[in-house]
Amino acid sequence: MSKEEVITGRQLFTLIFMSQIGLEVLSLPHVEASIAGHDTWLAILLSGLAAQAGIMLLWWLGSRYPARNFFAYSATIVGRPLGAFVNLLYGCYYTLSGYVLIMLYIDILNRWIFILTPRWVLVLMMVIICGYAATSSLRKLANITQSFMILPLIGFLLIVFSGVYGIDARNLLPILPGGWNPVVKGAYTAFTAYVGYDLLMYAYPYVQTKSKKRLLAAMTLANACTMVYYVAVCLICSMSFSLKQLTLIPEPIVYVLKNYRLAVVQSIDILFLTFYVSIIGSTVFVYFFMAAKAFMHLRGRGLGNQMMWIWLIAGACFIGGFFLKKRSALLGLANIQDQLSIIMVVALPVILLVISGLRGVGRSKL
């Protein structure tokens, strides 16, 4: 294993946190409003616990093959042709995820900041950033996310301070009016907000911690931080707006920020949406990176190099940027991607784990 790929537990924490935090900060309160209503925060807590279970699952799977990454041992579990197929699936899924995320963010930009700018220019900029970052090794990727780490923190502070004005805790009452049913449904919807922890599938063998429990601790901490972030955002939105408002407004948190005025900065929402590019970017380039790694493991001895795959994927996303003109079509695709991510991040690993357990090919120290 080259020194290039090894990361510390701390770097794993940032990578996971940054790839989990995504667009849902803006959209989740709106999406959940019609499902879980005012109990959104409960739903998010639940799905955070579910994500923790997912992390345990991947950690377990990884610890069976401690020396290799997921795409390398998938063929060991299900045989060579099927393994290649699984990697291909993952590659396509991650490419699609990156594409959808870019499109959604640019949709927001188009509505808030760039009313007249042609969309393909923005897509090109996003693709350049994410492609350029994703060509690096895992360690450099971790360094990049660590550099961007300060922005979500600033964002969090902004959200909390601006949200403190004009909130009413009575908006949260009554708790659980419709029983647990809508909350569980909402938790299912909110689960995709936590997707991003699946980077562990690739990163597991490259993390250098004192013990494998430490690795799990870093993952858990990242997941907990993500959970706190989402819960805070949703609580502030639910307390600032009524349900009816939330179902109408696509990005409630931006309105909250718009209301807040500092002595030196008047529209924080523009600033927030602008530097949000780094948070979206870090999620997308992790997706691109995973996609490239999946494609590279299509063959046992490797296929192509990372640079080539990344720019192919980025090119595909750029060309994809000319399609999906309608917002409804985009949202439809995003929905499909949500369902897919549950299959790819939870269901497939479970199946593989079961097969691996049955075949007993684990513990191989290759």
């Binding site: 701390r10 220019v121 900029m125 950033i129 990049i144 008047q266």
Partner: protein
């Protein structure tokens, strides 16, 4: 490979053939008693006083004695290889042969013409040593040796340049420096195959990893005390003859914001100045761009009365803000270049007068707004605060693409630019170590963003000195 013969006439013929066109080559015949001597030298290279006093005189006085015993010159080697003698003559040595003896004596008689050691011009400090390196390598090594009187301090010699035969010295501290890095430096220096070498410029370009990056990846210093400070962190220092600059490698991005004065003042003060420098980095990179994106895209980002002030100064201006900014930044760059190139007494006057006259006239004629002049001046000043000249130039040059991007996409363009810069920095490496690492733990912040107290920096930086990291054990032992 020409065989050395015992007859001086043949040796003389060989040299004469080799240096047929050299007017300053001398082959001096010297007959003392029975013995026949020959001296070969370049009279432009040797110190004739030394030759007369310590070679000719003793030989005359003791005609019977062995050459080794009478010639009183310290740098005195024997050889049987003519090639070596040829190279020695070119370095300014005098080659002596006695007829009938099958060996040559190489005597160090080179003329040392050098500047005296004076104060550093490019890295001024108020506190701290006032010695600077000069062009003579031996003198520089002497300065370094005097600063570190330890057996651990290693100096290795290299000769680079097929034609120029430039002497280089690589310095490191054996017990601290990471051996793999020393080997890496060695490997890269050995592999350089070039006719002549210009240090530090050529060296920088020949041994850096990424060929196309604006950011300087080697730190150049003219201060011995600074070189020592980095040696103590496990870094390697390369000095070359003919250059008053030593190169320090591998350095990280943060090293370019350290000044040797930081370690002379109190830690709180220097920490504040360090943070000021980092703020200035952002100002120099992004202030004009930020101003342009605010004034042409998002004026509502600022409070109303501020925007009104801005607008009133922009009222009669014909050009768009982006063009204004570009013009002012270019003007500043022209002034800087002019003051550097011009003779120093003229240069300063031109700078001051040009700046004031151009600045005021440009504003009064409504070509450029007042605000823009302030912004341009502030940007320029901020970039000059950065201690390393290479770094500050890189930052200034990078502010142009930032300006273009924000002129096209406003704040989003600026964010895009900063992201690209950060990604680029993270991808750079020097000697296999990451060039830029965001300080993410306390130990990493200690000498990057701030300058932690001396008694608190117990560990050396991880990258360059992984083996021997303990810097101090009980620095304040007097206090129970």
């Amino acid at each position: 490979m020409v065989k050395l013969s015992a007859s001086v006439a043949e040796t003389e013929q060989y040299f004469k053939q080799l240096f047929a066109e050299q007017s300053d080559f001398q082959a001096k015949r010297l007959a003392i008693g029975e013995s026949d001597y020959r001296l070969f030298y370049f009279d432009t290279l040797i110190d004739s006083g030394v030759v007369q006093e310590f070679i000719l005189k003793p030989l005359m006085l003791h005609p019977e004695a062995e050459i080794q015993d009478v010639v009183s010159i310290l740098d005195n080697t024997e050889t049987e290889r003519l090639e070596e003698a040829v190279q020695a003559v070119l370095y300014g040595k005098t080659v002596l042969q006695l007829d009938g003896e099958n060996k040559l004596y190489l005597l160090g008689t080179d003329l040392k013409k050098e500047r005296s050691i004076n104060i550093p011009i490019n890295e001024r400090v108020l506190r701290g040593s006032n010695e600077a390196f000069i062009e003579n390598l031996d003198t520089n090594l002497n300065l370094m040796r005097k600063l570190i009187n330890s057996k651990e301090f290693i100096i290795k010699d290299y000769t680079l340049g097929r034609l120029s035969q430039t002497k280089l010295a690589v310095m490191y501290i054996k017990s601290i420096a990471e051996p793999s890095i020393v080997q890496e430096v060695d490997k890269r220096l050995q592999s350089i195959d070039i006719d002549y070498i210009e240090s530090p410029g050529f060296l920088d370009e020949l041994i850096r990893e990424k060929k196309y990056s604006l950011f300087p990846q080697l730190l150049v210093t003219e201060r011995p005390d600074r070189a020592r400070a980095y040696l103590m962190e496990g870094k390697v220092v390369v000095a070359a003859s003919g250059s008053p600059d030593a190169i320090i490698l591998p350095v990280s991005f943060w090293s370019f914001f350290q000044s040797s004065e930081d370690y002379q003042m109190g830690w709180l003060m220097s920490s504040i100045f360090r943070i000021l420098r980092l703020c200035c980095l952002f100002i120099a990179l992004g202030l004009p761009a930020f101003y342009v994106s605010i004034s042409s895209f998002n004026p509502h980002l600022l409070p109303m009365n501020f925007v009104n002030t801005l607008q009133s100064s922009l009222k009669y201006i014909t050009f768009p803000p982006a063009l204004e900014a570009l013009a002012m930044m270019l003007l500043l760059e022209i002034l800087r270049e002019a003051t550097v190139r011009l003779a120093s007494p003229v240069g300063q006057t031109i700078g001051v007068v040009g700046g004031i006259v151009i600045g005021t006239v440009v504003v009064q004629s409504n070509l450029v707004s007042n605000t823009m002049v302030i912004i341009a001046a502030l940007t320029g000043l901020a970039s000059f605060i950065i201690p390393s000249y290479e770094m500050s130039s890189a930052i200034r040059l990078l502010s142009y693409p930032a300006l273009l991007l924000s002129a096209m996409f406003g704040l989003f363009g600026l964010a895009f630019f900063f992201m690209i810069i950060v990604i680029h920095l993270c991808q750079l490496e020097t000697m296999g170590l990451p060039y830029f690492k965001p300080p993410f733990s306390l130990s990493e912040v200690k000498d990057t963003m701030i300058r932690a107290p001396v008694w608190n920096q117990r560990k050396r930086p991880e990258g360059t000195a992984p083996g021997n990291r303990t810097r101090l054990r009980n620095p304040r032992g007097w206090k129970r």
